[in-house]
C-alpha cells in the first residue's frame, strides 16, 4: 500500500511538472522583448546613474531634449525639444560677451507615464496616463504630468545638485561655468572665494544655486542654456551628456525628491545610491513605463506607454534580466527565453551557426583599447622590480623616455592583434582622435609593427644601457576587463621578447579591488589599461589624453601633466573655440600628429562590439557611441 501511494505521488508530480512543459516551436513571449545582461543595473534615478546598464533603462523610460539620430554620430534628432538648435535656425546665438545661448523649444502635447488628476474634492491624485479615459484626461492638472519647460529645468538642476561622486554632471557643470567648476561644491567655493567647502556659508550655497538657476532659464515655452566661454562642441557635449533626462517636477517632489529651492540643495547632494527618491520608481515620457523591479530576481519589467508622443512602441513589454553565468545566458538565447543577450566578442564563435540566432560582430564603438604609459610610477611599487635599470627592474620614470615609448609603439604587432584577437574587425587608431571624427584623416601617421625601428629606439634609450641590461616590470590587468582587452598585453609581451630576450614584461591579473587600490592609491602601475568612452567630438577625445586637466593625465605623473600644459593646452583651447569647421579640423589634425610624434600613449585599436539576438527581433540599430544602450521604441518581434 505504501509503495503504491509512493508511486502514485511520484507519477502525479511528474505529470504536474511535465504538464508545465510547453512544446513550443514558435516565437517565445511574443509580446515581450527579453534582454539578458551579465550584470544588474544600479538605479532608476536618472540624476544618479552613469553606468551603461542603468543608462539602457533610462533611455527607454525617459527622453532627452535632443539625441543622436539613429546611427549618426553627428546628426541630432529632436525629442523633447521640438527642434534641434543650430546657428542657422537661430536657436543658438552668441551674446556680446561671447556667451552661447542655446534655446530648446519644448514640445507640446507630451505626457508623462503618471499624471496628476484633479478629484472632485479638489485633491490631486497621481494616475497612470494610459488608464485614463478622455473625461479623466481633461482633468489632468496643468503642470502635473504634461511636459513643461519647468520640468526640463528642474530635471537639469536636479542632476546638477545630485552630483554624486563619479557622475558625469561635471561635464555639464563645466559647460555652464566655462570650465571653472566641476561640481556644486567647487562652484560654491569659487563663488564664495573659499578654499575649503567647510568655509562656505548659507549665502555661498545659495549663490551657487542662483548661478545655475540663471544659467538654465525658462523663457516662455523654451528652456535656454547659457554657456560662457563656449566651444564649437558645446551642443554636442550637452546633448550627449548622460544625465540629460526629464522627470515631472511635481511628481518627483511628491515622491520626496528635491523641492527645487535654493536652501535645500545641499540636503540632496551626493546621496548614496539607494537614498534618492527616484531610486526604485520612475515617471518619464519615454516609450516604456515601469511595471516592476524585482531586485531579488534581478528582473525589470517595463510596459509599453500607449500615450508616447511618437506613438506606441513595437513590443508590449520590455523585460531585462541579469544572469551572470555565460552558459546560462547562451542556453536562454538558444531556447528563445532571451531575445537579446550580452556576450563578449571572444565568445561569438560559440554563437555563430546557432539556429535562429543572429550575431552581428565587428560593430564600431567610440572608445579606446590601449595600455597607458605611466610616466611616474610610485617608487615603492613592486611592479618596477629593483627600481633601477639593472635587468631586474625599471626606474620609476621609465616611460618618461620618448625612445622607450617609441620602442614600445614600434614593437607592438597591431595586425596580428587585430586579426587574431578581433577577427580582423577592429581598427587601429592613429591617436586620440577616432576615425570618422573631425580632425581625423587617413593620411595621418600611425605606428606599425617594425622591430628594426623598435630596436633602434631601445638602443638609444638610457644611452644604450637599456638594450644591454634589459628590463623587467609587471603590467597589471583586472578581472573586470574583457578577454580582448587583456590579450593586448599578451601580444605586447611576446613582441618585446622577440626583439630582445632581456625585455621582460610580466603580466599579472588582479582582483578589481586590488587593481583599483593600485591605480588610485599608490599609482603603482607602469603600464596599465583603463576604459574611457569619449563623447563624439574631437575636443572630448584630445582633452581626455592631452589636456593637463583631463582625466587620463591625472594618473600619469607630473611630467606628463607638465608636457600637456606646455605643448597641448593652448592648442586644445584654440581648437575648442574655433567655430570655423575647416580651421578646427586643421588644429585637431595638428594635435593628432603631436600625439604621434611624442608617442604619448600606445594607441592600439578602436574596439568593436556587437549585437547578439534572435532572428525574430527586428528594428535594432547600432550607434557607435550608444552601443547597446539603445531606445527600443522601434523594435518588433515577428
Amino acid at each position: 500500500m505504501n509503495r503504491r501511494l509512493w508511486l502514485a505521488t511520484v507519477a502525479a508530480t511528474v505529470l504536474l511538472v511535465s504538464g508545465a512543459v510547453a512544446a513550443d516551436a514558435s516565437i517565445k513571449n511574443p509580446d515581450s522583448l527579453v534582454i539578458v545582461r551579465s550584470a544588474d543595473f544600479v538605479t532608476l534615478d536618472p540624476a544618479w546613474e552613469c553606468d551603461g546598464q542603468s543608462h539602457e533603462i533610462m533611455c527607454n523610460l525617459y527622453d532627452m531634449l535632443v539625441w543622436l539620430d539613429g546611427v549618426s554620430l553627428t546628426e541630432f534628432a529632436p525629442y523633447l525639444s521640438s527642434e534641434v538648435p543650430t546657428m542657422e535656425n537661430g536657436l543658438m546665438t552668441l551674446g556680446e560677451d561671447g556667451t552661447l545661448y542655446i534655446r530648446f523649444p519644448i514640445r507640446e502635447g507630451v505626457f508623462f507615464h503618471i499624471v496628476g488628476v484633479r478629484q472632485s474634492d479638489g485633491s490631486i491624485v497621481w494616475k497612470d496616463y494610459d488608464s485614463l479615459d478622455s473625461a479623466e484626461r481633461a482633468l489632468i492638472v496643468p503642470g502635473y504630468g504634461q511636459l513643461t519647460p519647468e520640468d526640463v529645468k528642474y530635471s537639469l538642476l536636479r542632476a546638477l545638485i545630485t552630483d554624486r561622486a563619479g557622475s558625469v554632471t561635471s561635464d555639464f557643470m563645466k559647460l555652464l561655468t566655462g570650465g571653472t567648476a566641476t561640481g556644486m561644491k567647487k562652484l560654491s567655493m569659487k563663488l564664495a572665494g573659499a578654499d575649503d567647502f567647510a568655509k562656505v556659508d548659507s549665502e555661498g550655497l545659495k549663490a551657487a544655486f542662483e548661478f545655475l538657476d540663471k544659467a538654465i532659464a525658462v523663457d516662455g515655452d523654451a528652456v535656454v542654456l547659457a554657456f560662457p566661454n563656449p566651444s564649437a562642441a558645446s551642443l554636442v557635449l550637452f546633448a550627449t551628456y548622460l544625465n540629460n533626462f526629464t522627470v515631472d517636477r511635481e511628481w518627483a517632489i511628491a515622491q520626496g525628491g528635491w523641492p527645487g529651492t535654493a536652501d535645500t540643495w545641499l540636503a540632496y547632494h551626493d546621496p548614496a545610491v539607494g537614498n534618492t527618491a527616484l531610486y526604485q520608481t520612475a515617471n518619464g515620457t519615454g516609450p516604456f513605463k515601469l511595471v516592476s523591479w524585482d531586485r531579488t530576481e534581478k528582473t525589470l519589467t517595463l510596459a509599453r506607454f500607449e500615450g508616447y508622443w511618437k506613438g506606441p512602441a513595437g513590443v508590449k513589454f520590455l523585460v531585462r534580466k541579469a544572469v551572470p553565468e555565460w552558459t546560462t545566458r547562451k542556453l536562454m538565447l538558444q531556447n528563445g527565453d532571451a531575445d537579446i543577450i550580452q556576450a563578449d566578442q571572444a565568445l561569438y564563435p560559440q554563437l555563430e551557426g546557432m539556429e535562429g540566432v543572429t550575431v552581428q560582430g565587428g560593430l564600431p564603438s567610440i572608445g579606446y583599447q590601449n595600455p597607458w604609459f605611466n610616466w611616474a610610477v610610485d617608487k615603492n611599487s613592486p611592479a618596477i622590480g629593483s627600481g633601477v635599470l639593472d635587468g631586474n627592474g625599471i626606474p620609476y620614470d621609465f616611460f618618461a623616455s620618448e625612445d622607450v615609448r617609441k620602442g614600445f609603439c614600434y614593437a607592438f604587432d597591431y595586425s596580428a592583434y587585430i586579426d587574431e584577437v578581433w577577427g580582423g574587425k577592429a581598427t587601429q587608431v592613429k591617436g586620440p582622435i577616432l576615425k570618422g571624427s573631425l580632425g581625423y584623416s587617413d593620411d595621418q601617421p600611425q605606428y606599425s609593427h617594425d622591430p628594426e625601428k623598435a630596436e633602434g629606439h631601445f638602443r638609444k634609450a638610457f644611452d644604450g644601457k637599456l638594450w644591454d641590461v634589459g628590463f623587467k616590470f609587471t603590467a597589471y590587468t583586472t578581472d573586470r576587463y574583457s578577454e580582448g582587452f587583456k590579450m593586448c598585453l599578451n601580444v605586447l609581451q611576446q613582441n618585446l621578447l622577440a626583439i630582445n630576450p632581456k625585455f621582460r614584461m610580466e603580466i599579472q591579473e588582479l582582483a578589481w579591488a586590488t587593481f583599483l587600490g593600485k591605480i588610485s592609491g599608490d599609482f603603482g602601475m607602469p603600464l596599465f589599461t583603463m576604459w574611457k568612452s569619449p563623447q563624439p567630438d574631437p575636443d572630448s577625445m584630445v582633452s581626455h589624453f592631452m589636456s593637463s586637466t583631463g582625466p587620463t593625465p591625472q594618473y600619469l605623473g607630473a611630467a606628463y601633466v607638465a608636457l600637456c600644459k606646455t605643448e597641448f593646452d593652448a592648442l586644445i583651447a584654440q581648437a575648442a573655440h574655433e567655430f570655423d569647421t575647416a580651421k578646427r579640423a586643421a588644429l585637431y589634425d595638428q594635435l593628432q600628429r603631436l600625439a604621434y610624434e611624442r608617442a604619448l600613449q600606445l594607441f592600439m585599436i578602436q574596439p568593436v562590439d556587437g549585437l547578439v539576438h534572435r532572428d525574430w527581433v527586428h528594428g535594432l540599430y547600432w550607434n557607435p557611441l550608444r552601443g547597446y544602450m539603445m531606445i527600443y521604441w522601434g523594435v518588433t518581434k515577428s
Binding site: 504536474l16 545610491v273 531586485r295 530576481e297 544572469v323 546560462t328 542556453l331 574611457k532 591625472q554
Partner: protein
Amino acid sequence: MLHYVLRRVLLLPLIVWGLTVILFGFSMLLTPHQRVATYIRDPAELQGGPEQVERLIEKYGLDDPFHVQYWRWLKEVMSGNLGYSQSAAMPVSEAIRRFLPASVELALLAAIPTVLVGIWLGTVAGSNQGRILDHASRLAAIAGLSLPSFVFALLGLMVFYGVLPWFPPGRLGMWAAQAVNEGSFHRYTGMNVIDALLNGNLKVLADALRHLVLPVLTLAYMHMAVLVRVTRSAMLETLRQDYITTARSKGITERQVIISHALRNALLPVVTVTGTLLSTMVGGVVITETVFNYNGLGRFAATAAQQLDMPAVLGFALLFGTLVTLTNLVVDVAYAYLDPRVKLA
C-alpha cells in the same frame, strides 16, 4: 539538558560578535583605496579620476580607524540597521529577507532526498558489504564526490534545458513571475512552492517545481554522496559490535537487527554530518545558484564578498554564524537523544 541548551543559546551572541570582529579585521587589512571598490564596481564607472575615489573614501569614512568604523557599524546593528548592501542594491536586512526564502526552499527540497536516500543507500551498502548493492552505491557516491558541482550543474542544464527544454533556469518563468507579482497573488513566505500552494495556484506551483528540479537534483546528488559514505562507514563499524552478534543469535530477523539495533547507533556520526550539510545548503551553494540563475543567499554572499561589500558580508556572517551555531546545538541535542551515554555537560 535545558541548562545546556540555555547556556549554548546565551553564548551565541558572543560567538557571532567574535566572528564579525574577525571579518571586520580582515577587511581592514585592505587599504581604503581597495575597499572603495564596493562603490566603483567597474572600470567604466571610474569617470571622475582620482578625485572621485578620494571623495568616496571621505564620504563613507573608509580611512577612519578600525575601532571607529567598527563601532559605527555596531551602533547601526544594535539599532536594527544592518547597513546598505551596494552589491544587492538594497538594505542588508532586506536583502537577507528576500534571498533567504529562496535558499530555504531549495535546501528543504534538496534535504529530503539527500537525507532519506543518502541514509537509506548508506545503510543498504553497509549491510550488504561486498555485494553488488554495496559496489553500486559506492560507485555512485564516489562519482558524486569527485565530480565538481559546477560540472554536474552545467551538464544538467545543457542536457535538460539546452537539448531537452524541460527544466529552465531561474525560479519562475516569465508568465508565472508576472502572475506572482500581481496583486491577487499573496506572498506568505517568499517560497514559491509553498506560496503557490497557499494561493491554490497549481500552474504557478507546477512552474516553480519545474524550475527547482535541476538545482534540487544537483544539490541532492552532491550532498547525498557524502551521507552515503558516512552512513556506510558507520554501519560497517556498528555491525561489527558484539551486541549485534548477540541480537542475531537471539534469532530476530536481519531487518530488525539493522533497524532496531544497528541503525540508531550508526546514525550518530551521520547526524553530525547532516547538520553541517543542511546549514551549508542554506548559505553555501553559490555554484548551483549561479549556474541555474537561482538568486539565493549563497550567491548574494559570494557577490558581496567579491565586491568587498562589508555590510552585506557582515550581515550574512551574522545570519550564517547563528544558523551554524543553532544547527550544531540541535545536532548535540540529537546526539544525546540517540545515545544515552552522551551527557550534555
